[in-house]
Symmetry: C2
Subunit: 401 residues, 2 copies
């Protein structure tokens, strides 16, 4: 089977993935969740014509000629409006956010007024009426938040202002993580000679959580079908099963063989991508199975490129928007081979804000420290020609922390 | 007291804030936390010269002339190295990541070799030795993660690869949130005529969590000193107390008065900023008190500008890096008044990647829906001159979700 292009592989792994069911969560729990439905305001804001300033509510006609002395007949505060009516020659002391009393159509701001016993002397009345009309912000029934929106501080504040106590959000996609390898041990272990530390599950779990999923770490299977099957079954409730590495003999042969007995229908297992050539993908009942390389750098880049878009589809979040302009090459690049290459790179910013990117000296996919140091990936399409310093290249920025 | 400039106010609110104590957390709990100490590798990676490919470990001298037939004397897999030595005319079957056996100094990749019973025929031997030297990634004792680093997927994967099971991180800054107002009720309430919904605490809590803090919502105090004091005391364990709004009569008078009886030393309460003019700041014992306006837009912008830098100081995270280039004005702007203005704006991106920003039509600070819709703030310094369309302006991008 010829290796698939990254675009074709991405198409296959996301095809048919529909948004998960909705669930209601309280606003305080909803940060980072994705809206499952459009959400309408349950009130009109402001619910009445409101004062935009501290001052006096008056009739504009009474302050056309200045100075003017008006009789203060009451007080309108937020939560305690004035129930009467402002007549000619009258004023009501008013505070920001308070309802403008009937009859009044103008706010004299505090700085332009001088209090006197039972009255107010208006010296100036410029700069607009200082009235926020009813519904200036929004009206009951307005759809202000739409399905697919990821909820952050501002969206949640708006939802509260719309008088929603909870919101319909997509269930978090569950992603089971199954590491493999007789030689692989958890971090913090006392290491025997040939053992290596399992680092991919920790990185994937953080990536999954960051993109709105729920990681289910299944542990490390031995390179034996029974061990792999036992752990995979523990993750059967997951929407996606991510396997890491495969076996000492031919990556994925062992994982694919073991899971085929469990019903895995293999879709592909080779892609024209660097790092990350061996990528397994298939379906096991309703579950999608994504097998990433055991190599940590390849695993994390494959997860960025394939797993994150799968999560977005399950969340109904649409495609990732990127307005990142092409970056400028800080050094010349050789022609690329037949595999799409994701080069780890460091950026500097020019005076004019342009981003200049330089690949790290070694692109060996075993260098975990280099991946952590990088701040972006330069994407080189298959068979891309050599490029001089200063050429423009597409990049994928890598989030810090 | 003349209003303080934003820069001066920022200086005062962050002055003297030192990083909080360290605590150890397991890697699985450390995402988004900030490292309290430099962290050194506890092993060398790779711990031995390792094969970069599947193939055969041989002596380079034996494949100088091709084709060459070599006797296969064993097998080196990850986790199960070959214990013997590769002599002249000998080869060891080897897999990616496995130790290169003694005597061998070259890997013939699988594609260039042809298996025969007990032997291998090498047809080609080009493209480098395919050996990853011991310590190519990092060596024991190397400091690979430094204090102040925010931990994300890549940093955590690296920490695991360094064989750390847990990490020293800063305790999360605790931020108590105290809303005020007789008229203010929690979201989801049945609203009486003059009541308004409390939306700021929800927005602040999400913002605080996003920036590594722990929000402690204290509820809504009535506009009475006893009520404010009772709630403030419930938040006495917080590093920062944020109060929202103040009172119907002169914002902050009531909060400041109530908290002065509790030991509040007021530093300032007016800043030359729009939105957000009334900003209260002071100290109450070890606790910092930040009073933001009751108006949701002002409150959230004040929190972005002042509270986030306070959190970063408590986390030892350094100043926020921004490489955001100046944006291009999509329409002309009038001259600014004496207050630094944070204008809500929408962006479009030009072909060349430049960001063109246009202020939303109304900059009224009561418009919560407009704040949610904006994707950046245009920062206008005090008394900035009018600017034509196409001029460059500083912006603060607003995170989505």
């Amino acid at each position: 089977m010829a290796p698939l292009s990254v675009a074709e592989a991405l198409d296959r792994v996301t095809k048919g993935l529909a948004p998960l069911e909705a669930e209601r969560v309280a606003l305080g729990e909803a940060s980072g969740r994705v809206l499952a439905e459009d959400v309408a305001a349950q009130l009109t804001q402001p619910p009445f014509d409101a004062s935009a300033m501290d001052g006096y509510a008056v009739r504009a006609a009474d302050v056309a000629a200045l100075p003017a002395t008006l009789r203060v007949i009451g007080r309108s505060a937020a939560g305690a409006g004035f129930r009467g009516r402002v007549g000619p020659g009258e004023a009501v002391r008013i505070f920001t956010g308070a309802p403008v009393p009937e009859g009044a159509d103008f706010i004299v701001i505090q700085e332009n007024a001088e209090e006197a016993p039972g009255s107010v002397i208006v010296r100036e009345a410029a700069g607009g009426s200082f009235i926020r009309p009813r519904g200036q912000d929004f009206s009951e029934g307005d759809i202000l938040l739409t399905a697919g929106t990821r909820l952050g501080p501002r969206e949640l504040m708006l939802a509260a202002a719309m008088n929603r106590a909870d919101l319909p959000v997509r269930r978090k996609p569950r992603v089971a993580i199954l590491a493999t390898g007789n030689e692989v041990v958890p971090p913090g272990s006392e290491l025997a000679a040939d053992q290596i530390v399992s680092s991919v599950p920790i990185g994937l779990a953080a990536l999954i959580a960051r993109h709105g999923g729920e990681a289910m770490p299944l542990g490390i299977a031995r390179d034996e079908p029974e061990s792999i099957v036992t752990l995979a079954r523990a993750g059967s409730a997951a929407d996606i099963l991510v396997t890491i590495g495969g076996a000492s003999v031919g990556e994925y042969d062992l994982v694919a063989t073991a899971l085929k007995a469990e019903g895995l229908e293999l879709d592909f297992w080779k892609i024209a991508m660097r790092p990350g050539k061996p990528l397994l993908f298939g379906r096991m009942g309703k579950q999608r199975v994504l097998g990433v390389p055991g190599n940590p750098v390849s695993a994390l880049i494959c997860a960025e490129v394939f797993l994150v878009p799968m999560l977005r589809k399950l969340l109904g979040a649409g495609e990732r928007e990127s307005h990142e302009p092409d970056a400028i090459l800080g050094e010349a690049l050789a022609a690329n081979g037949p595999r799409e290459h994701y080069m780890r790179a460091l950026s500097e910013w020019r005076e004019d804000g342009a981003r200049v990117v330089t690949p790290l000296p070694s692109q060996d996919s075993s260098l975990v420290a280099a991946l952590a140091r990088a701040d972006c990936l330069i994407v080189r399409p298959p068979n891309a020609p050599a490029l001089p310093r200063g050429a423009r290249v597409r990049i994928v920025p890598l989030d810090r922390g």
